[in-house]
Symmetry: C2
Subunit: 457 residues, 2 copies
């Protein structure tokens, strides 16, 4: 099935991770390092993030091992010493990971995950870790916005056909469910993650029959209890009337029609008309579902207009996070051999040292503010909650994999604690994220030390 399965994801790394590794190795620079993963600021129209990707990251680190094919390929590059290649063949990840839980609502510049381990191991992991944390958090955040816009109506993932590749489709289904989607159309995601799957018919099904009503009959004959009929292949409201006719036939056989779906045209107008016709004909329990080019902005508009859709299928725009298809993520070395370090020449200096993020709450349990602190500091208050937890020690998971349903429930509970103003789809204010005094002082010290050394100031 997988034509390149002889190569492992240990090779899923930038070449420079491996060349740096050889240079570290030859120079004896093999001490403990800490890398901090975070998202810089926010893209337009984002005011919070839903962190995701940890499960894939921990799987990767636990399984990390170059295969024979990987090693043979590295030899062909003619860049690496044979002794170093033999070292790579034995390499495993033996470090520690502290991370936020998947589904955590978090904010710009906060470390979401820190890796501490021998520098070569932590360095080689960079590419895969950034890839998964960045992408999965991108689409989890997008999904959270869609769920918020749907205001309690069901949302279903239809994106598999137009995501950026197959891994994306799997993670879009998974993170959508984590963020509150009801189900996915992606059967493999259903199998792998245990997510509910849904789906009934496409336009091609209608067109393959001699007429729309014959297609509806054939479908309800095969699935008398699961039919949501797609009514917009030829003329949407005539399609609704055909669906009603077939609905009556179903009733006479002791079944019920589930719903109708509208996938094109003026959704607000057609949705209202479809609802009216169904109600008039006594099909008040038959839902009207919308799909076709939807995202949080369009769902929000439909919901605010009071359009009577029971649920929304969201595809391409949600599955690619089309208005913000990436996050400006970083995996920064913050400490090496006990020495805090930073990068200087960008507009903003990075924050050195191993960190913790503390969340404080208002008296009613709402999020009040977060504080980025050094891990060695005390919490800013008794009630502040540390968000980074130990999840891996010496290369082994600490608590197994949490169930996706548990993470989903916890996310839903946490999301209600985010004050409404930060959830606005556009022009939301910035949630306050503070840097602790000690961390600011450390940053100043390290900046001064680096300037002295490198700039001769």
């Amino acid at each position: 099935m997988n034509r390149y399965s002889q190569f492992s994801d240990a090779l899923f790394t930038d070449l420079y991770e491996l060349t740096m590794a050889q240079a570290y190795w030859r120079a004896g620079v093999t001490d403990q390092a800490t890398f901090s993963l975070f998202f810089r600021g926010y893209p337009r129209n984002r005011s919070y993030y839903v962190f995701a990707g940890l499960e894939a990251i921990l799987n990767h680190l636990e399984d990390f091992q170059f295969t024979g094919a990987d090693i043979d390929y590295l030899r062909t590059l003619d860049r690496f010493d044979e002794e170093f290649i033999e070292y790579l063949a034995e390499l495993r990840f033996t470090g520690d990971v502290r991370s936020m839980k998947e589904g955590t609502v978090c904010f710009g510049d906060e470390p979401v995950l820190e890796v501490r381990g021998p520098i070569i191991e932590a360095q080689i992991a960079e590419t895969f870790l950034l890839n998964q944390a960045t992408f999965q958090s991108t689409v989890a955040t997008k999904a959270s916005r869609v769920v918020h816009a749907a205001a309690g109506r069901s949302v279903v993932d239809f994106a598999a056909r137009r995501t950026q590749g197959t891994d994306a489709a799997m993670k879009v289904a998974r993170t959508g469910y984590l963020a509150g989607y009801h189900a996915t159309s992606n059967v493999k995601a259903g199998a792998v993650y245990g997510i509910p799957v849904v789906g009934t018919m496409a336009h091609s099904f209608i067109m393959a029959f001699d007429s729309e009503i014959e297609a509806f009959r054939a479908y309800t004959h095969a699935f008398p209890d699961y039919a949501t009929l797609l009514v917009d292949t030829y003329d949407t409201l005539r399609g609704v009337r055909n669906a009603i006719e077939v609905g009556r036939e179903l009733e006479s056989e002791g079944h019920v029609l589930r719903g109708v779906r509208i996938d094109s045209g003026d959704l607000a107008h057609l949705g209202r008309e479809a609802r009216k016709i169904l109600d008039e004909e006594g099909f008040k329990d038959v839902g009207v579902f919308a799909s076709g080019g939807l995202d949080e902005y369009e769902v929000d508009r439909l919901v605010r207009d009071g359009t009577p859709f029971e649920g929304y299928g969201v595809g391409t725009k949600a599955g690619t996070s089309a208005d913000a298809p990436y996050l400006d993520s970083a995996y920064k070395l913050v400490e090496y051999a006990g020495r805090p370090v930073l990068k200087l020449s960008s507009k903003k200096q990075s924050l050195p040292g191993c960190k913790q993020v503390y969340r404080t709450y208002t008296s009613d349990g709402s999020y009040d503010r977060d504080t980025i602190s050094l891990v060695s500091e005390e919490a800013p208050s008794m009630s502040a909650k540390p968000l980074l937890e130990n999840v891996m020690t010496e290369g082994a998971r600490i608590n197994g994999s949490p169930a996706l349903n548990d993470l989903r429930d916890e996310h839903a509970r946490e999301f209600t604690r985010v004050p409404a103003r930060y959830k606005a789809l556009q022009s939301a204010p910035r949630y306050p994220v503070e840097v602790s005094q000690r961390l600011k002082e450390l940053q100043r010290e390290v900046v001064r030390e680096v300037r002295d050394r490198e700039l001769g100031e």
Copy 2:
């Protein structure tokens, strides 16, 4: 390594493909169908496409087979008849595929691929085929624009860390190379596709040493013949001077410094200053390379300004096609059991029937116009070239897999035949794509027939 490898990509399909399949099967609707894959119109700032994804599609169709785990999972859904499930367990793809070559420069609304086979087989394939053709063509097109903007300077793919998942990273590397990139940083893509890999160091490497120059020395010690030094960790122009010092040390040992890379700041200014310093110090052969947030617009600006960069590393924006992260693709049923069909209710009716795309050329060999015809029609002129070729018959590839390097060479040759006006990064005119008279007539006939039948007109 792959924790879900017990499930195959046969399951990578929307649930409705399988429910439709059961309904087709029970209704005896199992005749030959033709589906046509195309991209509707263009996103903003796109005026041509580079078709890609065929290799993954043909692999998928050749390998198509539900595993035991797939079948067991489908049983748990409690939706499908046992007899149908047993039918699925035996299902293979036995149809035909006609397609453009990967790397073909093509245009909106042209069929790029047509699948003909028993309707159930061709229908279930929809999700995977759309996913790969859409995504790979999205990023191949983006890469082609970057290569065009670079105007002969080398371009390297650095996207792996921020693509939308791992499959995306692999295909971004592959299609980038197809479209003319020089290399990728993604080691696994190098291994799987035989693409050249490049890379030297990250900021973390510099920060792990006690000073920048020590880091440079450690690196050149490990790779005396492959060093491109990253100079912007602390102060870019001081970094260039440190690189020169290490370059002299290399020379004294019989090696040469390859280049310096600038990843942040005012690239145009820093690139010019770096070049000037290197030239003054006698390092005219040391290249200056740029990276950091680049896309075709920024590369174009740098090239037009005459900034002396030898090459560009492009990452996130190219690897996610950030300004147009998806194409509006469709996989439309165009013929069933010999009967041409179409969808009516969208703004624009689809084109019925099995098709061919013909390209005609001006006397100097440039692209003049394309014509979408019925496959049964003659070419519009003697010299017109049909773009869809038979690539799979009865489920088997016809000519093996073409070498990626051959496709890359052919793409490069073809791209020179596209008139310059159509390659403009913005505001390019529309390349003329005509619909043949006979196809227009057929569309009118089928529309009339459907209106008669469905709308009672």
